[in-house]
Every structure is written in C-alpha cells, then in structure tokens.
C-alpha cells in the first residue's frame, strides 16, 4: 500500500489515475444528488413551524460543511507540500480552493434566502454567517496570492503557508465572532435552532453531503489535471501527454 502512495504522489503517475477516477466520482455525485433532492423535496415532510422554506437546509448545511472541510483538506495538502516538498500536494491544494470558495458562496447565498422568510432579514450578523463570510475572504486571499506570484514553486509554497495560517486562525476567528455576537445580542433571535430533525431530514442531508464530497473530488481532479499540464508543460512527459490527447 505504502509503495502505491509514493508512486501516485508523482504527477506523471497521478495524472492518468485521476483521469480514470473522475467519471466514477462524477456519476456517484449525480446519482446521490438526485436521490438527495428527491428525499429533501418530496419525501421529507413539511415542517410545521417553517413550512417548506426549511428545505433550503438540504443545500445550505452540506455547503457550509464542505466550505470548512475543503479549507481543512487544503491546509493539510499545503502542509504536506511544505514539509515533504512534493509538487502534487501544492497542485491539489490549489485545485480545491475555487470549489471551496464556491461552496462558501452557496452557503452564504442559501443562508440569506433561508433567513429572509425565517428571521425576516436577508442578512443577520449571526456568528455562523459572519464566520462563513470571513472564510470566503480567506479563500479569496489564498486564490489571489497564488495568482499574483509567477514562479510556480514560490506560488505553491507561499499560498500554502497562508492556507496553514488561515486554518490555525479559523477556530480563533469563529470563537471571537461567537463571543462578539453574544455580547451584542440586540435582537434575540435564536438563529441556531434548527427544526427538530426528523430521521428523513437527516438522511436527506447526509446523502446531499456525500454527493457534495463526490462532486468536489471529481472537480478537484479535473482541475488538478489542468493544473499539472499547465505547470509542467515544459517537461517531456507532459508535452507527450498533451500531444497524445490533442490528437
């Protein structure tokens, strides 16, 4: 097993493997998302307090989970890249960032659309929404720093260091914002009270979360393949690979 890991940590070996994996994860994501949407929109009963508006959580909660998990995974890849000096982990961290930023945006968007009928406001400076907004800023900072550096090695290492610092700061930011929020509790709306979870709701949300994972893996692999070819275009194997695929 250990031998395999090392083998696939080199871009030339990983590239075809990623290509073989993409269709499986994409198909799994599509099937699971369809099942999840069916459970969430049709099977799950209407909530007696919030009506049908609560069905937004089938997207909101998995997106919010993904936004945090992806940052964490990105930081782990960045750490591996910094410590062991492997190229592939830098590419992987970079490939995850846009998808993470997108899920953060979706979590904010659906949070606003859920908040309007539930709390009567599009935006509330609730601890979770505020930290999610700051997380979006962290993603944007990472992507901008990577894009601003021309040298690929420096870009990967500098933005990797930033991702690690961000990951250390995320819990600190979350608890500061939470403290700030409890201190300034002007309008006391209980924002965190989710409707009592029926089993079907939880099932639907879990299926959607797994679908989001599969989607993320498929998209990240697609992006990492582009990233590898663009960055290594001057190496022999990448040029050969490109020529073979372009034909």
């Amino acid at each position: 097993m250990a031998v395999n890991w090392f083998k696939y940590s080199s871009p030339p070996a990983f590239y075809p493997l990623a290509g073989r994996l993409i269709p499986w994860f994409a198909a799994a994501a599509a099937v699971l998302a369809l099942i999840g949407i069916y459970v969430g929109l049709v099977v799950a009963p209407t909530d007696y307090q919030q009506g049908d508006s609560y069905r937004i959580i089938f997207i909101h909660v998995p997106a919010a989970w993904m936004s945090m998990f992806i940052y964490l995974v990105m930081a782990v890849y960045a750490g591996i890249g910094l410590i062991f000096n492997t190229r592939l982990s830098g590419y992987m961290a970079r490939a995850l960032a846009p998808t993470g930023a997108m899920f953060t945006f979706i979590a904010l968007w659906t949070g606003a659309l859920w908040g309007r009928p539930t709390w009567g406001a599009w935006w509330v400076w609730d601890a979770r929404l505020t930290s999610e907004l700051i997380l979006l800023f962290l993603y944007l900072g990472y992507i901008s720093l990577y894009a601003a550096i021309d040298d690929p090695r420096r870009a990967a290492r500098a933005s990797g260091l930033l991702a690690l610092i961000g990951a250390v700061n995320v819990p600190i930011i979350y608890f500061s914002v939470k403290w700030w929020n409890t201190l300034h509790q002007g309008a006391s709306i209980s924002l965190t009270k989710a409707p009592t979870m029926a089993a079907t709701m939880l099932t639907g949300m879990m299926i959607m979360a797994v679908a989001a994972w599969c989607y993320t893996i498929a998209v990240a692999l697609m992006r990492v393949r582009c990233e590898i070819l663009e960055r290594e275009v001057h190496s022999e194997w990448a040029a050969e690979q490109l020529a073979r695929e372009a034909r």
Binding site: V42, D52, A63, W109, P117, L242, E245
Partner: protein
C-alpha cells in the same frame, strides 16, 4: 404538481437556493472543460508547428 412547485408559498426562496446552486456547479464544470479544451487546442497547434518545422 403545481403545489410541489409552489413550495407552500416559499417557491422563490427554495427554488432560488436550488437554482443558484445548480447554476454555480454547472458553470464551474463548464469553465473547467473549456480550460482543458483550450489547453489541448494550444498543444495541438504547437505540435503541428513542430511537425511543419516552424516551431523547432
């Protein structure tokens, strides 16, 4: 069916969430496919030049 799409009066919020999410995912995949196609097209142009002896 109409009742399902009305979402108990919350149609705008529910479909607004699902719609934008689907849109974001589709756009991301399309952008990635375009990025890959551009990459391959540039490569094929390059290899043709090389075989014609221009780029070498």
């Amino acid at each position: 069916m109409a009742e399902f799409f009305a979402m108990g009066g919350y149609a705008f919020y529910v479909w607004g969430s699902f719609g934008v999410t689907v849109l974001a995912l589709v756009v991301e995949v399309l952008l990635l496919r375009r990025r890959r196609r551009t990459l391959l097209r540039r490569a094929s142009r390059m290899s043709r030049k090389v075989s014609m002896g221009v780029g070498a």
